[in-house]
Symmetry: C2
Subunit: 124 residues, 2 copies
């Protein structure tokens, strides 16, 4: 027997899973981290982040904006200027992300060891 709210919990987890999915793709973490150091414009962001196509950067930024983690400020000058920055929510989001990041870093050796052992077992 399980707790009565098990189904609700499952629904929550699906919701969380979706949010995690939105938030944890390959690039989101990198972008949030760069923006954590201060506002940044599109192409500057692109250079800082590394090997990302503008399409993916644009769509990732749209997602972040849609979820309220990033703000987008257009200054209508010539040439156009668009600044991206973390919102309060986005800055707050750095906290759990850092928690996860720290965990990964702390346990990187264990994970690598597990992977090596797994590879060894597989090739035997």
């Amino acid at each position: 027997m399980q707790a009565p709210d098990y189904q609700a919990e499952t629904a929550q987890c699906v919701f969380i899973g979706r949010m995690l999915g939105r938030v944890t793709d390959k690039w989101t973490v990198l972008i949030v981290r760069v923006l954590g150091r201060g506002p940044c414009r599109f192409n500057a962001l692109r250079r800082e982040v590394g090997e990302i196509s503008q399409k993916v950067l644009a769509s990732t930024l749209r997602d972040l904006e849609e979820n309220g983690l990033v703000s987008r400020t257009v200054t209508p000058v010539n040439p156009p200027q668009v600044e991206y920055a973390l919102t309060d929510l986005g800055r707050d989001f750095l906290r759990p992300i850092r928690g996860l990041a720290e965990w990964v870093l702390e346990n990187a050796a264990l994970i690598e060891a597990a992977r090596a052992e797994y590879a060894a077992r597989a090739s035997t």
Copy 2:
């Protein structure tokens, strides 16, 4: 100018991003959560998790095993019996995951509000 270890930090973040990617697909969180309640066999796991194909379940479990978060114990009886369980590392991993989950739940309303506002802006 930036801190001298910025490149290294970037590499770290790419590593973290990869780990996050491994760890945060649609199903991983759900599976880890179910296993957090105790060991479970393949088909039982499949029923508990919900709408998942055995292919995806199998490959997700392989990934988790490869990263050392889940153990796989085969008991050679008839019919075959395979138990999956969290390893110590996997149990420890619940901590940051829960941190993230809590953050998502705490801020779900804000995120939904941001999404609603964004949608409203877009349709205008």
